[in-house]
């Protein structure tokens, strides 16, 4: 169960993304907020796996998560999820297909999760469910766009600057080896760039 304070935080988070029209929408949003379940996640635990079958919608209350994409035998960080943000497998939740990604907690975390069945019910009822779906698609599109900005920087230093703009605590979230993979630069180049900007 979520505490009243957590429900409020979640409700406020949903409100900041969804444009409500009329009392009906407001009531539906309140009802939906109450269907979220609180989960405590330990550092290193997953929020969803490659073999997860149902796509739950998560709202991060505390802690940070990384979503990894499997490429061959290796996994690379695709994006980060921080407090106040939605986290979900777009494959599972939006496209009802097998997930190509998994999400792992980088620190101890607290998450409010909406089980897939409630999300699908809201979607079937139209109205708020459809709005929520649109919001999630738009958020996802925007995140990819922002991450692409980082990756289009040709110098390691600019990539780090662009990444830090999105995630100011990035340097403390993941080991340097993973950071180099995330930024698409060699470890040597990462250390040179960090030195250049006075972080090493």
């Amino acid at each position: 169960m979520l505490s009243q304070k957590e429900v409020e935080r979640l409700h406020y988070g949903l409100l900041s993304h969804i444009q409500l029209k009329g009392d009906g929408d407001a009531e539906a949003l309140r009802a939906l907020s109450n269907k979220f379940i609180l989960r405590n996640v330990h550092s290193g635990d997953t929020l969803w796996d490659l073999d997860s079958e149902s796509g739950d919608l998560h709202f991060i209350l505390e802690g940070t998560f990384a979503e990894y994409l499997k490429r061959g035998t290796q996994s690379f960080i695709l994006r980060f999820y921080r407090p106040g943000k939605f986290a979900f497998s777009e494959d599972l939740l939006l496209y009802s297909k097998h997930s190509d990604t998994f999400a792992k907690a980088l620190s101890s975390a607290k998450v409010a999760s909406l089980p897939s069945v409630h999300f699908q019910n809201a979607l079937r009822q139209g109205g708020l469910g459809v709005k929520l779906m649109e919001v999630l698609i738009n958020l996802s599109m925007t995140e990819y766009r922002n991450t692409t900005y980082e990756m289009l920087q040709t110098s390691g230093t600019n990539r780090i600057h662009a990444a830090l703009e999105q995630f100011p605590d990035l340097l403390h979230l993941i080991p340097r080896r993973e950071l180099a993979d995330y930024l698409g630069i060699s470890r040597a180049s990462l250390f040179r760039s960090l030195k250049e900007i006075g972080h090493e």
């Binding site: 994409l69 490429r71 690379f76 695709l78 777009e90 939006l94 496209y95 139209g126 459809v130 779906m133 698609i137 738009n138 996802s140 599109m141 925007t142 990819y144 766009r145 991450t147 692409t148 900005y149 990756m151 289009l152 920087q153 040709t154 110098s155 600019n158 600057h161 662009a162 180099a180 993979d181 995330y182 930024l183 698409g184 630069i185 060699s186 180049s189």
Partner: protein
């Protein structure tokens, strides 16, 4: 729209994974609501996608450059190359009601078709399930493509990135000049030229 334009739109919808014959009535209605082709010569900025434009656009023929202002570059920078048979929109305007941060330039001469926002809203009322599914499926394709490109942009060797474009974005590889290719794969021109010098198979 003429028969060629209608056929191009129908081919696009039928290529979406979600497509089935059940969608045909709604697809016919979408096609009937679309504007005839707008042509733009190479180099022209598509001013049709102005600051408040929330229409849906379909690139029937030609290639578009999607440009943005990078805080780290002196000039506007390439964000993406859009190949024929693609949907594109003002994302900032449509998703966040903000001024667009991107604009589109014809890389070759192009022909584009438009579904106006008001027509989209009307069709959404008329066929809510089908239009939502088409929207979702179209978006899913764009997402997949962005995710794959991000994966490429994280490869830390320039030749690997070039190879990815050669294999996965063949039509772009053949149309892009070297400066555009360097921007598309996020490397400096010098780095691209070094990779080309080392490997003869990348030659255009």
């Amino acid at each position: 729209m003429n028969s060629g334009e209608k056929a191009a739109m129908r081919t696009y919808f039928e290529s979406l994974p979600v497509y089935s014959a059940y969608f045909d009535e709604a697809i016919d209605a979408v096609i009937a609501a679309m504007d005839s082709g707008i042509r733009a010569e190479k180099g022209r900025v598509l001013v049709e996608l102005g600051a408040t434009n929330k229409d849906f656009w379909f690139l029937k023929d030609g290639f578009l450059k999607e440009m943005y202002r990078s805080p780290y570059a002196k000039e506007d920078t390439l964000f993406n190359m859009i190949p024929p048979s693609s949907i594109f929109v003002n994302e900032d305007t449509l998703f966040a009601n903000q001024r667009p941060q991107h604009y589109f330039t014809a890389y070759t001469s192009v022909e584009i078709l438009r579904l106006k926002e008001e027509d989209y809203m009307r069709l959404l009322q008329q066929y809510p399930v089908v239009i939502n599914l088409l929207y979702l499926s179209g978006t899913a394709e764009i997402q997949k493509s962005r995710r794959a490109r991000l994966n490429m942009l994280r490869m830390n060797k320039t030749p690997d990135r070039i190879e990815w474009v050669r294999q996965q974005r063949r039509e772009l590889y053949h149309i892009m000049d070297r400066i555009t290719l360097a921007q598309y794969i996020g490397v400096s021109r010098a780095s691209l030229y070094r990779a080309f010098e080392k490997n003869i198979k990348y030659q255009f």
